[in-house]
């Protein structure tokens, strides 16, 4: 903790958990979309998010984050209009997501190129977030560090191949957190790798070339 965790952040009100945290959840989706053209989002709000989203502007905050705005951007207030102007369709659905943190949102995005994806995460207080799921797979990261998601087939040696590449090709690269989840033995799996500092150039391309890796996504610090 430092002094600016207490005096700060600069944010758009009214609530650090329901507004600022919601922007950051939206920003995770912005990173997942990574500059591709967005056509539509379906946002499911659960728990306290579902009950109080209008009064806290949680809907505007999530959309603003998806469009790349920050928790201090004055545009949050007008995010619904800005989305309409940009031709982004949006829908908010109130639904209790089972066993989820009270401030949970699930964002399903649809791209112009036909691609789509889903992110589920929670605003856990003070503007901090925890991402729980990406494309149906369990993950766990808070966006404070640069995070690499590696989608792959659950085969022996894949983790070693990824971490060896990171070590031998990029000696300065340090992993600060590692999490693996899989749907079934031998099935789809996902690594969540948080790293210290900046990811080196070409790292993502190199990871994607590893056998049994289907995709790798970099989510830069939120």
């Amino acid at each position: 903790m430092n002094v600016f965790d207490i005096i700060g952040p600069v944010m758009i009100g009214p609530s650090s958990s329901h507004t600022a945290g919601a922007v950051r959840l939206g920003r995770v989706v912005n990173k997942l979309i990574d500059g591709r053209e967005l056509e539509k989002v379906e946002i499911t709000l659960s728990g306290s998010f579902a009950q109080t989203y209008k009064g806290h502007g949680t809907d505007r905050a999530l959309l603003a984050g998806i469009m790349g705005y920050h928790s201090y951007s004055p545009e949050i207030r007008d995010a619904l209009n800005i989305a309409r102007q940009r031709g982004i369709a949006y829908e908010f659905i109130k639904e209790d997501i089972k066993d989820a943190h009270p401030n949970t949102a699930r964002i399903h995005y649809f791209l112009a190129d036909g691609g789509e994806g889903v992110m589920q995460g929670a605003s856990v207080g003070g503007g901090n977030i925890l991402v729980n799921q990406v494309d149906g797979m369990n993950v766990s990261f808070n966006g404070d560090n640069n995070t690499i998601l590696v989608m792959h087939r659950d085969k022996p040696g894949v983790i070693a191949a990824v971490t060896q590449l990171m070590h031998w090709e990029y000696a300065d690269l340090n992993i600060s957190s590692f999490h693996l989840s899989r749907q079934s033995k031998g099935g789809e799996a996902i690594m969540t790798i948080e790293i210290d500092g900046q990811p080196p150039e070409n790292l993502m391309e190199a990871i994607r070339k590893i056998q049994h890796v289907s995709n790798a996504i970099l989510i830069r610090r939120i």
């Binding site: 005096i7 952040p9 600069v10 003070g126």
Partner: protein
């Protein structure tokens, strides 16, 4: 490196080195964050300028919250203070009150604020500091420096008690903000580090047990007006300490008590909108008006 585990540590270190707590903290934080004191000072200066801007925004006549439940409080109080030469509180305090209302109102209307320490309690520190700057001619540099003292006290409170309403009730939000502001005010007025600690202890002791009971779960009722009571307590606690009236219970023990009181508070009084003012017939009616149904039904 400082540990920020006790306020007595801050007082002891500052007195041993013969510096203000803010100077001690700025030096320490620039080492901890691996940057220069100037860079941190400039970052804090931006926070102060945002605070001053939220006062302006929140004092507009047409200021209205997102829910429509509140609005215009900062403007009303400012107008009243000007018309009556300060009403009962006197011009300085009445205007400071209007500033605290304004910043809390700015927050409720999705304006830009500095969480200090939280969004719900964001009016107290600017209400105090902008008033010394605009109405008492204090130097901006000293004001910005005093925010390091406020921040350091907040770090200790966060670790030793809590700064989250969901964890410790409103004493953790407006209570912490008032205690931080009281310490900053004492330093600005030329008080000693030990008097800063006294002011903090007095402010905490005055708000122990304050519950977090937001109507409809929104950061409006009673939060906006609690920023006013927090501001008044900050000023009175600072004046008490400066007058040489010591806190009888040492500040760190007050913080430990605050944590225990927070733990003892039932969940209904910790930001869940299930108790206190939120659970009154009028509070529930407002909830229904804003959200169409109350939370029990959804």
């Amino acid at each position: 490196m400082l540990k920020y585990e006790s306020i007595s540590e801050l007082v002891r270190e500052a007195e041993a080195r013969g510096v203000k707590i803010s100077e001690l903290v700025l030096q320490d934080q620039s080492e901890a964050m691996e940057t220069t004191p100037l860079e941190l000072y400039e970052k804090m200066e931006i926070d102060f300028s945002v605070m001053a801007a939220s006062v302006e925004v929140g004092q507009r006549k047409d200021q209205k919250s997102m829910s429509g439940l509140t609005g215009g409080e900062g403007w009303k109080m400012k107008t009243y203070a000007e018309k009556t030469n300060g009403g009962l509180c006197g011009p300085f305090l009445a205007k400071a009150i209007s500033r605290a209302l304004a910043v809390a109102g700015c927050n409720a209307s999705m304006g830009r604020i500095v969480a200090a320490p939280t969004a719900g309690s964001c009016g107290i520190l600017p209400g105090c500091l902008v008033s010394l700057w605009e109405d008492q001619g204090f130097d901006q540099k000293d004001i910005v420096m005093s925010m390091f003292t406020a921040g350091a006290f907040g770090m200790v409170i966060a670790g030793r008690a809590s700064i989250a309403g969901a964890q410790g009730g409103c004493q953790a939000e407006c209570g912490s903000a008032a205690a931080m502001a009281a310490a900053a005010l004492v330093e600005l007025m030329g008080g000693t580090p030990s008097q800063c600690a006294d002011a903090c202890a007095i402010a905490i002791a005055n708000q122990l047990g304050l519950v977090c009971d937001p109507v409809a779960g929104l950061v409006e009722i009673p939060c906006i007006k609690r920023n006013v009571s927090g501001l008044v307590i900050a000023f009175s606690s600072a004046d008490l300490a400066l007058a040489g009236i010591e806190a009888k219970i040492p500040v760190d023990e007050c913080l430990d008590a605050m944590r225990r009181v927070g733990d003892a508070l039932p969940d209904s009084l910790k930001e869940t909108a299930k108790g206190g003012l939120a659970a009154t017939p009028t509070g529930l009616r407002m909830q229904k008006k804003v959200f169409g149904s109350n939370q029990e039904e959804t």
